[in-house]
């Protein structure tokens, strides 16, 4: 019984990280049909944002509230990854709607550039650049419309960008001088120290539940609930769903499909940023951290059924639980009197990487019976 519970908890823990990472992808891929191979790098950006926030909170001025840095990191990571995602959508992806294979290649190029950017550009400069982008994009949204539409609109816009550039330079300079350690290029992996309340584990019925895992599970639940509520209850969520179902009809009915695209992509990318916070709590952060999640994310989306959030939830927990069940060789513990050949097979697959092999084989087997995943899309649009 206790064994079963432990396995279940591990499965949920693995699955929730996977779900967190796949949630943004499920939105972008499921609702827009865009394959974003740079999703992993957006996760990486979120993880690095957490690292930078943590470094800033180590400054003497913020020392008393150091333990709360995660609460700042989550929204900031959302914004950073979201802005980079929107930038990506505006510059590259929007030219390629309707060509999924081309999008796939272009986003792979973007992911290579982002990886190398993180490797060779000093962290302080990168942080400054990101801040400049965030400020530059958000200032026009905050300012009253009368200023932006007025006779001096150009001057106002130029002023916005000047402010953003200034803030970026200030942050970069401040970081570089304050903490000389982080001005160094980050080709090495970095570690995020968890705040004190997040260390250790929770004792419960002679089980130790690691607190970071619990925090991630909570984050996942909140994110999934938030996204579901947003899509089903809010005005913009309804518009997103309408565009998903029938783009040209929505356009005829006056829904600004262009804005909807930006919004969907921004939210999907922002969720990748939050996933980055979760990932940074689990292990060290490096330029390749995104690559290790991307294939698993796509598996979740394909298995769950494209465009179905509930399917993604179920699929990621199924994959997580199966990975734990196979990877830890739990079948052998449950049934010690297994016949030797079977036991040898179970032993053979009882490592994390071999469990991945097995899980993939099971997914392919499953797709033989349900080619469109757990919850297939219905309707005439599907075949196209």
């Amino acid at each position: 019984m206790q064994l079963l519970f432990e396995s279940l908890f591990n499965g949920v823990a693995i699955g929730s990280v996977l779900l967190m990472a796949a949630l943004g992808l499920a939105i972008v891929f499921g609702l827009m049909g865009v394959i974003n191979l740079a999703h992993g790098e957006l996760i990486m950006l979120g993880a690095y944002t957490t690292y930078v926030v943590q470094l800033i909170f180590k400054l003497p001025a913020f020392e008393p509230v150091y333990n709360l840095y995660v609460l700042v990191a989550i929204p900031l990571a959302f914004v950073v990854s979201g802005v980079v995602g929107i930038l990506l959508e505006r510059t590259v992806i929007r030219r390629l709607y309707g060509n999924p294979l081309e999008t796939l290649l272009a986003t792979w190029g973007v992911s290579l550039i982002l990886q190398q950017f993180v490797r060779s550009v000093p962290l302080a400069t990168a942080a400054g650049l990101v801040l400049a982008l965030v400020v530059g994009f958000s200032l026009p949204l905050v300012l009253p419309a009368s200023l932006l539409e007025g006779p001096r609109a150009r001057l106002v816009r130029a002023g916005c960008w000047a402010t953003s550039a200034l803030s970026g330079v200030l942050l970069a300079g401040g970081l570089a001088s304050q903490i000389s350690r982080i001005a160094r290029a980050t080709s090495r992996n970095v570690d995020v120290t968890a705040p004190r309340w997040m260390r250790g584990g929770l004792e419960w019925a002679d089980l130790t539940l690691p607190v970071p895992r619990l925090v991630i599970i909570v984050m996942t639940i909140v994110s999934v609930l938030g996204v579901t509520l947003f899509l089903n209850r809010s005005v913009w969520g309804t518009r997103i769903r309408a565009v998903t179902q029938n783009r040209s009809m929505s356009d005829c009915l006056g829904i600004p499909t262009d804005t909807v695209d930006v919004l969907t992509f921004g939210i999907g990318s922002g969720l990748a940023g939050i996933a980055g916070v979760a990932v940074s709590l689990l292990g060290s952060v490096g330029p390749n951290v995104g690559g290790s999640y991307i294939v698993g994310c796509f598996m979740v989306v394909v298995l769950g059924g494209v465009g179905n959030l509930f399917g993604a939830v179920l699929a990621s927990f199924a994959i997580g639980w199966l990975t734990d069940l196979i990877g830890a060789g739990r079948l052998l513990t449950l049934w010690p009197a297994m016949p030797p050949p079977l036991a040898a097979t179970v032993q053979f697959f009882a490592t994390t990487s071999m469990a991945q092999v097995m899980v993939f084989a099971l997914i392919v087997l499953f797709l033989q019976f349900r080619p469109a995943g757990l919850f297939p899309q219905k309707g005439r649009m599907v075949e196209v």
Partner: protein
């Protein structure tokens, strides 16, 4: 005037004369190191031809060609290891001793035979591709889903080969440059020169073969699958069969390329199955021009040469260039360089530069009468 030049056979012929002249002249001109690199890139061109066949002509974007590439390489390396392991304890390759393996694993046994190895190099990847492909195609999984599944399969094979030290030396891979073939060291300059010639011949053979495949009715069916699969199905064809065959052919070509690459680079390791390398293969074809066979060969050789030159000069910047290339070729040059040349590209460029007059009518009207059917 320019159009006549563009449409005549001369440029095509010129490209081929240049390629063959370069290949013939290379051993005399290039130092051993560069010649070896060129030989490797030519073996990658064979892989690129396979990708062009499935992506350029059939519209299947496989991100998992690294599986077949590495399998071909492993087959060749296993034979070479066995061939030169008689001096080691138990008569098995040396690395087994590190993991305490006394007896050769069963699946190594057939690789004692050179004949079996020569067949296995292309047959094992082809059969695996046929099985994997058929499982996917018969469920009508296509487009991006196919790409994602091939990528996942690649990751799985990487994990498997990376983790099995006792079977195939895991992450260290199998070395071939200190093994013996025909009583000579595989890594010796003479052998490498021989491999270069053999690779060059294989590229031409592969080109002739793929050209034979894409011309004629079989090729027409492939192009029909790419352009409108449901319509082909309603016309009474079975796309699954054709896709499986063509995916198997591409897998076999990748296996041959992998074997030739392995003997020239001196090692085969799970690194050949990494996700980035397999996606890189796609960009060779994309830059050269998908759907044009010469483009695949030129793209593979040119990009790899550029990669090695740039990496030597500025190691930091290659990924930026490669990433930029992905974006550029997709947004600005979707047909690749050769495809751009064959279509309206050069004339549009000349028009933009103000050298030729802008055409008022549809270009098709002006071409009437002198048009020739492109393959």
């Amino acid at each position: 005037m320019f159009q006549r030049f563009q449409q005549s056979r001369w440029p095509q012929l010129l490209v081929w004369v240049l390629i063959i002249a370069a290949i013939v002249a290379a051993p005399a001109v290039l130092p051993v190191f560069r010649l070896n690199l060129l030989g490797r890139f030519l073996s990658l061109a064979i892989v690129a031809l396979g990708i062009d066949l499935i992506w350029g002509f059939t519209g299947l974007l496989s991100l998992g060609q690294g599986i077949f590439f590495a399998l071909g390489g492993y087959a060749a390396a296993m034979y070479l290891q066995l061939n030169s392991s008689s001096g080691f304890p138990n008569g098995i390759p040396e690395f087994f001793g590190l993991y305490g393996v006394k007896q050769l694993p069963a699946f190594w046994q057939p690789f004692h035979s050179p004949l079996f190895t020569l067949v296995a190099i292309w047959l094992i990847p082809a059969v695996l591709a046929a099985v994997l492909g058929n499982l996917v195609f018969r469920n009508r999984i296509k487009g991006v889903y196919f790409s994602i599944l091939t990528q996942a399969a690649l990751l799985v094979f990487f994990n498997f080969f990376n983790g099995q030290q006792k079977l195939i030396n895991g992450t260290n891979g199998l070395k071939t440059d200190v093994t013996q073939l025909f009583g000579q060291m595989v890594g010796s300059p003479e052998m490498q020169r021989g491999f270069f010639w053999f690779t060059a011949l294989m590229v031409i053979a592969a080109w002739v073969f793929v050209r034979w495949v894409v011309r004629g009715r079989f090729g027409d069916v492939l192009i029909a699958i790419r352009d409108d699969e449901p319509r082909l199905r309603f016309a009474g064809f079975n796309p699954t069969l054709f896709k499986t065959i063509v995916f198997a052919i591409a897998g076999g070509l990748a296996g041959i390329g992998g074997a030739l690459y392995t003997v020239q680079s001196g090692i085969v390791s799970p690194q050949y199955m990494t996700v980035p390398f397999s996606i890189e293969m796609v960009i060779w074809v994309a830059v050269g021009g998908r759907g044009t066979l010469v483009g695949a060969i030129l793209g593979a050789v040119a990009i790899n040469y550029a990669k090695s030159l740039v990496s030597e000069a500025m190691p930091q910047s290659w990924l930026f260039i490669q990433g930029g290339l992905f974006i550029l070729v997709v947004t600005a040059l979707p047909e690749g360089v050769i495809g751009w040349w064959r279509s309206d590209g050069p004339r549009n460029l000349l028009t933009r530069l103000g050298i030729t007059r802008r055409i008022g009518t549809y270009p098709q009207l002006e071409l009437d009468g002198q048009e020739e059917v492109q393959p």
